[in-house]
Amino acid sequence: MSGQAPEPVAVLETPIHVDYSFTAGLAQSRFLKGLAEGRFLGQRCPRCKKVYVPPRGSCPTDGVPTTDEVELGNTGTVTTYCVVNVPFQGQAIEIPYICAQILLDGANLAFMGLIQEVPADQVRMGMRVEAVWVAPDELGPTMSSVKYFRPNGEPDADYETFAEYL
């Protein structure tokens, strides 16, 4: 034994890289293909009749397949929102901007979208909005097919109509 202890190893680098292919599933594939056609496709639960968009193929409440396809329109309601004021790397939109939960008319599940063409301080819960799609030749099976939502000029929705979806 030599008297000198070796310098302790404090860091060990073991790089890990794993590739995956992704299976969206039958229901989400329908939804994504709908986006490529500029349409919102949801599915209805045969038991509780709720319409899910995006659909996942099952009703998370009843645990049954949602087999009935439902096409939704272009309009919806802002159920809740936040104002993004913090700059971050890769930011594509000028701050401040709005991230909102949007409940499409006829849907029972809200999803996230951007609100544009309106000053951030004028966005409010209950605001009626419509989807603005990218140019037809830019449509694809991705949420990026929806550029953003903008106010459609209708009077605000009553709180009761979206209180369940906050």
Partner: protein, 360 residues
């Protein structure tokens, strides 16, 4: 206070396939959960507990076990749990829950899709992160070391590996859910080239996508739901060291201990044993550890050589063993599950047609 005896009362599985191209996990699970319930005319509302087994590493989706719950429909909120392990260990957790007497029914399910990722790399990530994982040894390489050790110890030869594979693939022809089946002889299999010496292709498990589900019930509830419940007479699981070099790979001490813990020994032998032996030679090690005689029917389903959905194949072994008690073809049966490289961790579930007086 004595614990109520617990039984397997229903079992269902999906077709086990090389690649499930179109359906996601939820869409694969829904018909199987529907079947495991409709077999015994219950719904999710009749379940006191839900427990699942899966691994997010397989498909690279964080918290995939949470989204998988959409296949059950957990509203109103249910008692639910998950293990990042084969569903056999989820069944173990559900069993202990039922033994507590708090609930009298439980749904156990597991799902595993190996096709979206690079299975060999993913399984290397479970090894010790300093000395082994950086070398990326894949499961066939580690299993080959074990098979070589078995040959060097004079305990088996390559022809015996081929005999196990030939019998398993032949039996799999009667299993409609099996992925791989064939009618090839030992001699034909011996003519294959090595994948990793001394293992030829037939000694390796297929890469599989699949799901499975089981319903457990306690006491009189089990006999209400099922004419011939497969009573769990005992269950135990044991794990060995992470350090492969510190183990004798030619034996499975943890399987022997788990078997004794589950009440399986030479005096209480079984008619059927479903062994989770992903590599052919591992069946030989497990047979010895469990002291199974030639009279025991081993892997009549074809075993893991016929389909080996990671995280699911162990639960299927228990389901296949229970099925034979429920259909009256076996009085006593054994389901075994393994996890980790070279049979590192092992679970033994003893099943009986006779209702035990207590839970264990």
């Amino acid at each position: 206070m004595s614990s109520p005896p617990v039984a397997v009362v229903s079992f269902a599985q999906s077709p086990q396939v090389r690649r499930e191209d179109h359906r996601n996990e939820v869409e694969m699970l829904m018909p199987v959960i529907e079947e495991v319930f409709s077999n015994i005319k219950v719904t999710k509302d009749d379940m006191g507990f839900v427990c699942s087994g899966s691994s997010d590493y397989l498909v690279g989706a964080p918290f995939s076990f949470v989204s998988a719950l959409d296949a059950v429909g957990v509203w109103p909120p249910m008692r639910e749990s998950h293990v990042e392990m084969d569903g056999a260990w989820a069944l173990y957790e559900a069993w202990t829950m039922l033994l507590s007497g708090d609930v009298e029914t439980a749904l156990v399910y597991s799902f595993g899709r190996s096709s979206p990722g690079e299975l060999a790399k993913i399984l290397a990530l479970q090894l010790d992160p300093y000395y082994l994982a950086p070398l990326w040894p894949d499961p066939p390489a580690l299993a080959a070391l074990q098979a070589r050790a078995l040959i060097d110890a004079g305990k088996a030869d390559e022809e015996e590996f081929a005999t196990v594979a030939a019998r398993s693939r032949r039996d799999a022809r009667a299993n409609p859910f099996a992925q791989v089946s064939s009618d090839r002889t030992t001699a034909e299999l011996m003519a294959e080239p090595y994948v990793v010496s001394p293992l030829r292709r037939h000694a390796l498990p297929p890469i599989t996508d699949g799901v499975a589900a089981i319903v457990l019930a306690a006491g009189d509830r089990a006999t209400e739901l099922c004419e011939r419940p497969a009573w769990i007479s005992g269950m135990d699981h044991r794990i060995e060291t992470h350090a492969l070099g510190a183990r004798d790979l030619t034996v499975s001490e943890s399987t022997g201990l788990a078997a004794r813990g589950a009440g399986v020994d030479r005096d209480a032998t079984v008619d059927v044993a479903e062994l989770h032996a992903p590599f052919a030679h591992q069946e030989l090690i497990l047979r010895e550890a469990l002291a199974l005689g030639p009279e025991v029917s081993v892997n009549p389903s074809g075993g893991a050589l016929a389909a080996n959905a990671v995280m699911v194949a162990g639960l299927i072994r228990i389901g296949e063993a229970a099925k034979r008690v429920m259909d009256g073809s076996a009085r006593r049966a054994l389901g075994h599950a393994t996890s980790g490289p070279c049979l590192q961790q092992n679970l033994v579930c003893a099943l009986s047609a006779e209702r035990p007086s207590g839970g264990r």
